[in-house]
């Protein structure tokens, strides 16, 4: 058994309960019997994030051909032979990695957008820091503890998690396929999504996940476990039902990413109103053996790009088969690209800007941006400058795909980023559904006026007992505590003077026994 077989099948067979399976770890036949209803047609839009973990080598993914000589000098160890580069309709100076035939076809059909050299100012070359930057949409030098998707979902479902799930939003707000929830989905205080590796499983935990928690650091951990227990029990069955309501799907490649996208398509077709999904594929940190030295079109990177390309193409095909094609767009992202020059180990080190792919049946296809400049005698210090800020891509998804008003896009993104031509048909007209979502759940704290200049009136509801009203700034730091004490059951109001706090975005937070809620407020000059 060599390494590849080992990774695929594991060694030895162990006795585990039949339910106890992780995605991609042990496969078993799905039951296709339970087909109670056909796909529910819904108008809600969905965004699928495909994370390429490790830092994808952009220069070997979307390959500039106008400076091929310089490129060959700089990255002799990994360069793709010019005649093997896949050409794109209408473009002769740039092409795709030879493993990406399926995505080339998508491009030629106008269903793939390639955005060149996406990054951010002052790039950071640490995986972990740069991943956090992409997940939180922070500036390079600031630390933010909430994710961009989490902030968006908090904006759309401001009452979450008080009285969720409910009739208006019975489903998870976001879903990550796997056993881990990324920082992107972290809201100002709560996770705004859930992770699940096998939607056909539902194991109901005993005990309700309720009960008092002490007001201590350990109590905070206890509260987390209780919340997750309640969410697991509340949402597990919903997800399973959606999954099992779909009885046939298109063909997918038998790969880890293919398997994940297959689940996503099935859940969308099953009628989940979940807005954002994330799937992951690791292995892009190709310091060594990125290519096979004997044939640069093969090697680890080629296998990864083939997996991405084939899985996305299968997903696109299945969306059409399910009739959900108009509702879904997706995009790839990676924490950074790789260095212009290759290293000694047939690989490349951490770099800066890299291309992003946006795919969907409703997008505006084509290419954004120019071929990057390749220096004549590239050194290890040379990196590709960015042409587009990744936060512009996020902002565009929020504004043109999710139809978020531009002032709210700025609030979620914490700045004003240019909108890019990515979505062909935004179809942003109706707002009634949105109001319904925004009112879902129960409001237990609010402020009026909001935005405010100096003073605002904070209204909150107490179930009796201790109430704590706090104000946090955009970095998650506590800046004021307008109320702390016992409040009788009922509605209370207090006048709050923001005093010397600078203008900007803040979060108002109420905690009353087991209840807590966070609402955004804006101080203006």
């Amino acid at each position: 058994m060599n390494r590849k077989e080992f990774l695929k099948y594991g060694a030895g067979s162990f006795v585990v309960p039949s339910m106890f399976n992780g995605l991609g770890i042990a496969k078993r036949a799905n039951s296709w019997i339970n087909s109670l209803s056909s796909a529910i047609v819904d108008t809600d839009k969905v965004l699928v994030l495909v994370r390429l973990d490790g830092g994808n080598d952009g220069l070997n993914t979307v390959i500039p051909l106008d400076q091929y000589g310089r490129l060959t000098m700089a990255r002799e160890k990994v360069i793709i032979p010019e005649n093997k580069v896949l050409r794109l309709d209408g473009l002769d100076q740039v092409g795709l990695h030879p493993a990406m035939g399926k995505m080339r076809d998508l491009y030629n059909e106008g269903k793939l957008k390639i955005i060149r050299s996406v990054g951010y100012p002052n790039p950071n070359y640490s995986h972990f820091r740069s991943t956090d930057i992409w997940m939180t949409a922070s500036d390079s030098d600031e630390i933010i503890v909430s994710g961009w998707a989490g902030r968006y979902l908090q904006n759309e479902f401001p009452n979450f998690p008080v009285d969720f799930p409910n009739e208006d939003m019975p489903d998870p707000l976001s879903l990550e396929i796997g056993s881990f929830l990324s920082l992107a989905f972290q809201g100002p205080t709560n996770a705004m999504g859930m992770s699940i590796s096998d939607p056909s499983d539902f194991y109901e935990l005993i005990g309700g996940g309720i009960g008092e928690v002490p007001n201590t650091p350990a109590g905070e951990k206890l509260a987390h476990v209780r919340l997750i227990k309640r969410q697991s029990n509340a949402y597990g069955q919903v997800v399973k039902d959606a999954y099992e309501s779909v009885n046939s799907q298109g063909e997918y490649p038998d790969t880890f990413l293919g398997e994940q996208l297959k689940i996503v398509s099935r859940l969308i077709a099953g009628g989940l109103k979940t807005r954002i999904y994330m799937v992951n594929i690791g292995g892009f940190d190709t310091h060594d053996r990125q290519v096979d030295p004997a044939d640069h079109t093969r090697g680890f990177h080629a296998e990864l790009l083939r997996e991405v390309s084939d899985a996305i193409a299968a997903f696109m095909e299945d969306l059409r088969f399910q009739g959900t094609d108009k509702r879904v767009v997706g995009m790839t992202f990676s924490e950074f690209g790789r260095r212009i020059i290759s290293n000694f180990s047939d690989g490349t080190d951490h770099g800066a800007a890299a291309p992003m792919f946006v795919f969907g049946h409703e997008i505006e296809g084509g290419m954004l941006g120019e071929n990057p400049f390749i220096p004549l005698n590239a050194t290890p210090a040379d990196n590709l400058p960015m042409q587009y800020d990744f936060r512009s891509v996020y902002a565009t998804m929020l504004q043109d795909w999710f139809c978020l008003p531009s002032d709210e896009v700025q609030l979620v993104m914490r700045n004003d980023f240019p909108i890019l031509p990515l979505i062909a048909n935004s179809d942003c007209v109706s707002t009634s559904t949105r109001d319904q979502y925004r009112n879902a759940g129960q409001t237990i704290i609010s402020a009026y006026p909001n935005p405010f200049t100096e003073r605002t009136t904070i209204s909150f509801q107490s179930d009796g007992g201790q109430c704590l009203v706090q104000v946090f700034n955009a970095h998650g730091q506590l800046v004021a505590t307008p109320a702390h004490g016992a409040y009788a059951m009922g509605e209370h109001q207090l006048d709050w003077d923001s005093e010397t706090l600078p203008a900007g975005h803040y979060h108002l937070r109420l905690q009353n026994g087991l209840l807590q809620q966070v609402r955004p407020v804006l101080k203006v000059r």
Binding site: N2, R3, F6, A11, G12, F14, V15, V16, P17, M19, F20, G22, S126, F128, I143, P161, F164, N166, E167, S179, F180, L181, L183, N190, F202, Y203, L205, G207, G211, V213, P214, T216, P217, A218, G219, E220, K221, L222, H224, V225, R226, I228, K229, Q231, S232, A234, G236, Q237, D241, D285, H287, D288, N343, F344, S345, H350, L478, G513, L514, Q516
Partner: protein
């Protein structure tokens, strides 16, 4: 009514979470602890430094003073015998060594290395399950998380074993020596590309992680630069895996950058002079001296130890009262780890009421802790195949719960130890929590077994309760179980539910007392069944409590 509406009606509603900002301030420091030394403190100390707190270990610890108990925990274990060929079966027969003989000196052969790695991982799990009353196994995991490799990525069994041995040898020793040994460790040279690091095309991978992840870290003042990464990479050029002596690295002068290496202001502008010939190898020691001389290294290591053993919450008070003094202890003792640990585990801060129960159990703490605490057993050492299978099953469970020993997700280790703001909350999500529940049901109601059920170990709930002081008193039983197994005391309502399981819904305590005493006097299968079935439900409910996820 449509199906969806019907489902909606049945769905439990829940209100918001109680994520409380702690009001209590952890203001204690490293001064010696002077409070009570009883079951909650002993269980706390053992849970944090070992995998679960077994009943007899708690008793032994309490038979000693706190100082004696800590001394014992910080002692060194006997050197374990290496893993052996225990994977031969219908699919595979390792031709290099016979069953029961060690494979760790056998040649690299990727037809067998997958099995050897599985064997190594099983052997590691068994070391944990059979650990003496010391911190050594927890420290090995600490270092594995701090300076990880991925066994499967390396895919050479003997190198992975050497790496583990390096962690063990240095687990309670000098940190600089450990980092030096790992820098030249064959598995590490392979894993972070050191062996490809060459003049002309330096590979920065190890040089970056050495600073960012292993030593300097990412604290607010960790201001090393990209130029420092490149300079360190040039110093580390030339180290190669030695294919004629597989167990040590060799310095190859032809691949070494001989020019001087200039570091930034962060390192006070240190210039490490480049050396030609074999003397180039000496630059490594200059590099490590410069890095360990920087106080950020001591602070970072202190924070890492704190987050692994005490809590993820480090505010300005904790930084001043605990982190800085711990860092000073590390530096004053030339980066010997023992004095810092010794002070930490005897401190007021470690036993502060606000420290108790503040960590969420890692998967290995949870799974292997249950296995040990609830007296599940391994097959006899002579039964190689069964031991291999049971340990492999446990590794599989840990992997599904997101802590695959030997294969962390990447070179940063597990996110629970570094990812802001969630830290150990990362262990518990909507995917992993139900699976933890499944593990409990499995261990309690079916037991862990080998193929064909030739060997089975199920939780012996009656035997466990029999070790309690007053098992016939339901109130004592509940209090003793919670004090022993929970990170936080349960609510009165929860204790009442537990009691109602023991009393089968009746209100008179004597229902349980009589049932237990009758079983004890008669020993009859029927009386046994009466207490067994109630205790099974009792433990299922108890272990599924959210408080049991805390340590």
């Amino acid at each position: 009514m449509k199906r969806r509406d019907f489902l909606r009606l049945q769905r439990p509603q829940f209100r918001g979470p109680a994520v409380l900002r702690p009001s209590g301030q952890l203001s204690s420091g490293l001064e010696p602890y002077t409070g009570p030394w009883a079951l909650p403190q002993a269980a706390h100390l053992l849970r944090r430094t070992m995998f679960g707190a077994k009943q007899e270990d708690v008793q032994e610890a309490l038979a000693r003073t706190l100082d004696e108990a800590v001394d014992e925990l910080l002692s060194t274990d006997p050197i374990p015998a290496p893993p052996v060929v225990d994977y031969n079966g219908p699919d595979v027969t390792d031709p290099y060594s016979a069953a029961g003989e060690t494979w760790v000196d056998d040649p690299i052969d990727n037809q067998y290395d997958g099995y050897r790695i599985q064997s190594l991982k099983g052997w590691w799990v068994r070391q944990i399950l059979e650990q003496p009353r010391t911190i050594e196994q927890k420290m090995i995991l600490f270092w594995h998380n701090h300076v990880p490799i991925q066994f499967i990525e390396v895919f050479v069994g003997r190198w992975d074993y050497r790496y583990w041995e390096t962690l063990r040898e240095n687990a309670l020793g000098n940190i600089r020596s450990l980092i030096r040994a790992l820098t030249l460790d064959p598995a590490m040279l392979h894993y972070l590309n050191g062996q490809y690091n060459s003049v002309g095309a330096p590979d920065e991978n190890y040089a970056r992680e050495l600073q960012e992840l292993f030593c300097i870290g990412k604290g607010p003042n960790a201001a090393f630069t990209e130029e420092d990464v490149r300079a360190a990479a040039r110093i580390l050029t030339g180290w190669r895996v030695n294919y004629s002596n597989l167990d040590e690295a060799v310095f190859t002068r032809a691949f070494h950058v001989t020019e001087d290496k200039q570091f930034s202001e962060f390192y006070h502008g240190t210039l490490i002079s480049g050396r030609a010939g074999l003397a180039g190898a000496e630059e490594l020691d200059d590099l490590l001296e410069m890095i360990f001389d920087n106080n950020e290294t001591a602070l970072f290591l202190a924070r890492r130890l704190y987050r692994f053993f005490v809590s993820d919450l480090i505010d300005a008070t904790v930084e001043a009262n605990v982190i800085e003094p711990l860092a000073e202890l590390l530096r004053d003792n030339d980066y010997e780890v023992l004095p810092a640990l010794s002070t930490l585990f005897r401190s007021q801060h470690f036993f502060d009421a606000l420290t108790l129960g503040v960590m969420i159990k890692s998967p290995t703490d949870f799974v292997l802790g249950i296995f040990r605490e609830l007296r599940m057993t391994l097959p006899d050492p002579s039964d190689l195949a069964s031991r291999y299978q049971i340990a492999g099953t446990l590794n599989y469970v840990n992997m599904v719960l997101q802590q695959d020993l030997g294969d962390p997700p990447n070179v940063a280790g597990w996110p629970a130890y570094y990812q802001l703001p969630q830290y150990d909350k990362n262990w518990i999500n909507t995917d992993t929590l139900p699976r933890r529940g499944e593990v409990l049901a499995w261990f309690l109601y079916a037991g862990i077994s080998t193929q064909g059920n030739a060997y089975n170990s199920i939780i012996d709930v009656v035997g466990i309760v029999d070790r309690f002081q007053n098992p016939e008193d339901p109130n004592d039983l509940i209090a003793a179980a919670a004090d022993w197994l929970f990170g936080l005391p349960p609510s009165p309502a929860f204790s009442a539910s537990l009691k109602s399981i023991l009393l089968s819904g009746q209100s008179d305590d004597t229902y349980w007392t009589v049932a237990w005493l009758e079983y004890k006097s008669s020993g009859s299968p029927m009386d046994y069944q009466t207490v067994y079935s109630r205790l099974q439900s009792f433990f299922y409910f108890l272990l599924n409590a959210e408080e049991h996820q805390l340590a």
